[in-house]
């Protein structure tokens, strides 16, 4: 079983791993930093030239790229920092206040 599945806020002190050890790699993917978001980026597909300047600047790897083209944001991990909107030369990313 993956640690991500059994380490959660219902775990008791007997079952929790010693010292908080996590017995696998890449577990940050299971941590939904998207919860922290105040602003949310909107991806305007029509204005996007697929230059991919936005992808490498994202601190959370929340802009998925497939076959050389970016797709919509991974909102489980996008913290809404707005760096992608700042670097986009074409106005294809717009930051908006997120309504929850």
């Amino acid at each position: 079983m993956s640690s991500v599945d059994f380490i959660n806020e219902n775990i008791n002190w007997k079952d929790i791993t010693p010292g908080g050890e996590v017995y696998e790699g890449g577990t940050a993917f299971g941590f939904r930093t998207g919860d922290w978001r105040v602003s949310i980026p909107e991806y305007i597909v029509d204005k996007c030239k697929q230059c991919l300047l936005c992808t490498p600047v994202c601190p959370d790897s929340a802009i998925p790229v497939k076959d050389g083209k970016r797709a919509d944001f991974d909102f489980d991990h996008c913290k809404g920092c707005g760096i992608c909107a700042k670097v986009c030369p074409f106005g294809a990313i717009v930051m908006k206040k997120e309504e929850k």
């Binding site: 806020e9 002190w13 010292g19």
Partner: protein
């Protein structure tokens, strides 16, 4: 076959380390523990051990290197004293909370200031709440025996905690006394190989050590860590029983000396216990019912067992070889009084600060303590419960 030798406490511990043949030693020299890494680095240079010796630039780095090395899966140790231990403070807690069974040879010395290099327990007593197992040694033999037992306790699956083996600076570390050593093979077989279940250098199974703990998890981890410390008590006794089979020397959580029918007793740690036993013998010869309890294991603190052992004692002195600045006495006094109170004891207890900064402790000084206890027994008047021994008034 036991090997009869004459060694200082530092030599004895360095030899125990050689016989254990650990994977890594990271250390920085500080008086009076300097000789331990010094002797050990000679063993490394001579090819007598397979250890990677890391000569770091400070104790902060020494313990940091130990944490990294132990987490990587290597059996790791270090040695230090006084301000060296103080500089390790941050990493001591990290080692314990990451559940890394590092062994540390602590040669007890006063903390500055005023700067002083002599025997005093303020260094290890200051680290008493860091989550390390603490075992104390009266003489070179005990320092050696305790170090040989260290990893069996620390690495046990129910424990997984770092361990500190303490001995008195200069008095034990530098005085040469007779000692019985075990054969190299006996130690090797007793200590065994270190095979951690999970470790960072395991290519087959990646892991993370020491991740950030949010409030939803921290308490659960601390309760688990505290339980490991409780578990250590039984493991210490089990390992001691096994050690007795190969050495013939018996160890417990503490040692009692002529305590069974004692009316007045003292609780003491490390080398001064030897001096105090002489005082007990002298007073016993005069028909006085005196006894002694010498702490071996301070963490975990064997509170119930100590209260039980002291249940017939009417007047007790707890001897603290460091200040606590609580205005009530030192840390050992606080622990012992807490144990007695919890057990419903009505014994009268005084706390003595003694021998700090290397102040000489003689048989007659300890006799003076027993004399004061008999005064309390005769008058029923405890008087000042927080006293200094051999202080110029």
């Amino acid at each position: 076959m036991a090997i009869r030798e004459r060694l200082s406490g530092n030599e004895a511990v360095a030899i125990a380390m050689r016989q254990i043949n650990p994977d890594v030693m990271a250390a920085f020299p500080i008086t009076p523990s300097t000789e331990i890494p010094q002797y050990f680095s000679t063993f490394v240079a001579n090819g007598q051990v397979d250890t990677e010796f890391v000569p770091v630039e400070s104790e902060h780095s020494a313990m940091s290197a130990c944490v990294g090395s132990e987490a990587a899966g290597a059996r790791t140790l270090t040695a230090t004293s006084s301000c060296g231990l103080a500089l390790m403070w941050e990493e001591l807690y990290i080692a314990a909370s990451c559940r890394l069974p590092i062994a540390l040879a602590c040669v007890n010395r006063a903390l500055s200031g005023p700067i002083n290099i002599n025997c005093d327990h303020s260094d290890s007593m200051g680290a008493r709440d860091s989550g390390w197992i603490q075992i104390y040694s009266e003489n070179n033999q005990e320092a050696y025996d305790n170090f040989v037992q260290a990893y069996r306790i620390a690495e046990h699956k129910d424990v997984r905690l770092p361990i500190m083996i303490c001995q008195d600076g200069f008095i034990t570390s530098h005085a040469v006394e007779n000692i019985n050593l075990l054969e190299d093979k006996e130690v090797k077989d007793f200590v065994g190989e270190y095979n951690p279940q999970e470790y960072l250098l395991n290519q087959e199974h990646s892991m993370a050590v020491g991740p950030y703990d949010i409030p939803a998890y921290y308490m659960e981890h601390k309760k688990q860590q505290a339980t490991a410390m409780e578990n250590a008590k039984q493991v210490i006794l089990d390992v001691a029983a096994e050690f007795e089979k190969i050495s013939g020397r018996k160890y417990g959580l503490f040692e009692t000396y002529k305590l069974d029918d004692a009316e007045c007793a003292i609780v003491i740690i490390n080398s001064a216990a030897g001096t105090a036993k002489d005082a007990v013998d002298k007073l016993r010869a005069e028909g006085k019912k005196v006894g002694l309890l010498k702490i071996r294991v301070f963490r975990p603190f064997p509170a119930k067992e100590i209260a039980e052992a002291l249940k017939n004692v009417k007047v007790l002195a707890v001897m603290d070889r460091c200040e606590g600045f609580s205005s009530q006495g030192g840390p050992l006094g606080a622990e012992v009084k807490s144990a007695l109170y919890t057990a419903g004891s009505t014994a009268k207890v005084v706390d003595y600060i003694y021998g700090i900064g290397g102040r000489d402790v003689r048989v007659e000084n300890i006799e003076e303590v027993y004399g004061a206890l008999f005064d309390i027994l005769a008058t029923g008047n405890v008087g000042e419960t927080y006293r200094y021994l051999s202080l110029r008034d």
